[in-house]
């Protein structure tokens, strides 16, 4: 089966681990990705902070290219890209004047017909039903599923999951044997785009998330966004320094956890590329 994919810039670089796990998982379930041809950057925070039209035109070019190429479903693993694409499609569909203006800017027709999917929706639609017979090693750990901002808000536009206490990732994790904990920072912000320019603020916000997950007894934080991952994982040194602590809880992508459960190796799902070592304790597994 072929499905459209918009990887986005970070999956090609600092979130290579995430990329590897998404592709490894797809392969294990006989899914072939077709990338949006000649895709460009979505513009991220910089574009919408600096220029409204640019913030719509960049995602519109991506969506128009997907439409032209006949990609009905487009999976967008990065939560920030997902948000930019979904918000742009929503705005342009609700404002014909703006739609014409943006079509003119990008020099392409934009219809707004793409089904834009985040990675949790992708797992729900294409993987969850086929998961059970493939499970080789239950992921029987206590986990804190961390959704962050952009996969759930604004709910009015995304119409995806409950904005205050989302459950979709918790559900998926339960399917592979994990215990998804209730905790207080599921949808709090990690500091996102201020990672480089205001590192202290990121250390403060991300530290609170890590502290709560640790305090609740989680053995891993499960994420589905490369920005959340880089702030919680790559920035751990800064965070521990800021909070004068030694948090060691690993941060694992949803796709990596599922990959491990179906028997993919740590290397195949990119776990070796993390900054915080993933040393999950071996546990007795009751036979199914």
């Amino acid at each position: 089966m072929k499905i459209g994919l918009y990887p986005g810039c970070s999956l090609n670089g600092s979130a290579r681990d995430y990329n590897e796990s998404v592709f490894a998982l797809a392969k294990a379930f006989d899914i072939e990705f077709e990338q949006v041809p000649d895709w460009n950057c979505c513009g991220a925070t910089a574009a919408h902070n600096m220029n409204k039209e640019l913030s719509l035109a960049l995602p519109a070019r991506i969506l128009a290219a997907a439409e032209k190429h006949g990609l009905a479903d487009v999976v967008v693993p990065c939560a920030a890209c997902y948000s930019r694409l979904a918000v742009t499609q929503h705005e342009l569909l609700h404002d014909p004047v703006l739609r014409n203006r943006v079509s003119e800017i990008i020099g392409m027709e934009f219809k707004g017909t793409t089904n834009i999917m985040n990675v949790i929706q992708f797992v729900d639609k294409f993987i969850v039903d086929k998961l059970e017979p493939k499970i080789k090693k239950k992921f029987n750990y206590n986990v804190a599923c961390y959704y962050g901002c952009l996969m759930v808000r604004p709910a009015k536009i995304l119409k995806y999951d409950r904005p205050e206490d989302p459950q979709s990732m918790d559900e998926a994790m339960r399917k592979i044997g994990a215990t998804a904990l209730d905790w207080g920072y599921k949808v709090e912000c990690c500091g996102a785009g201020l990672s480089v320019s205001k590192t202290d603020m990121v250390s403060k916000l991300s530290g609170k998330i890590i502290e709560d997950a640790t305090y609740r007894g989680a053995e891993a934080i499960i994420v589905a966004c490369p920005m959340c991952h880089s702030n919680l994982d790559m920035r751990r040194g800064d965070i521990n320094k800021f909070w004068n602590n030694k948090f060691t809880i690993p941060v694992i992508y949803l796709t990596q956890a599922i990959g491990l459960a179906i028997g993919l190796t740590a290397k195949e799902v990119g776990l070796k590329r993390h900054f915080v070592a993933v040393n999950l304790p071996k546990k007795e597994v009751e036979s199914a």
Binding site: G13, V196, S197
Partner: protein, 191 residues
């Protein structure tokens, strides 16, 4: 001061400009404070989001000037918590985007926020020249702009050994199309 009812004269207050350009209506706010309570960074702001709305409501040019010079508008992460919880659906993140752009236009960017603006500019330049974000180039360009040469240097060896940093940018085929987009988007708002 603009009223909540429909009127035809041009409203030149900052709230009027916000409304004209973004359809966000500051007068709808009744100061419940949910936005400021939920905002992850209100403590780091000079004015919390609900206070920015109150300042806008007054139409006082002195307060409007303070808003455009504030640190608040740059610290806002666009995490969308405020709009998610606002009982009056005042879209604060959209309003913040407009206020940031207006702050740049009027050359009132808060000195503490210069790094954030530099970072955004480096980011957009990367897209303009290659079509995609070139992370290594972004960091180098930002360091040049902000003179923060040594910050994050310690992360680099780890990123390289983990294969997370590329040194050669990927340029997309439709790069001309991208530079056209950058040329065509309007730099000024209608008002």
């Amino acid at each position: 001061m603009s009223s909540g009812t429909h009127h035809h004269e041009v409203d030149n207050s900052l709230a009027g400009k916000v409304r004209h350009n973004t359809q966000v209506h500051a007068q709808r706010c009744y100061q419940c404070g949910k936005c400021s309570a939920g905002c992850p960074l209100s403590a780091d702001m000079d004015y919390p989001p609900s206070l920015v709305l109150r300042m806008l409501q007054t139409g006082d040019p002195v307060l409007e000037d303070k808003i455009l010079r504030s640190y608040t508008i740059w610290v806002c992460l666009s995490c969308e918590m405020c709009i998610q919880r606002c009982p009056m659906e005042v879209d604060i993140p959209v309003m913040m985007d407009y206020l940031r752009q207006e702050s740049i236009r009027q050359k009132k960017v808060n000195p503490k926020a210069k790094n954030i603006v530099s970072f955004h500019k480096s980011f957009l330049d990367s897209i303009k020249y290659t079509g995609r974000l070139f992370e290594f180039g972004l960091v180098v360009d930002y360091k040049m702009r902000s003179w923060k040469m040594f910050q994050d240097i310690t992360l680099m060896p780890g990123m390289i050994s983990r294969g997370k940093l590329h040194f050669i940018p990927e340029r997309i085929k439709g790069i001309k199309n991208i530079s056209n987009i950058f040329t065509k988007v309007s730099k000024e708002d209608k008002k």
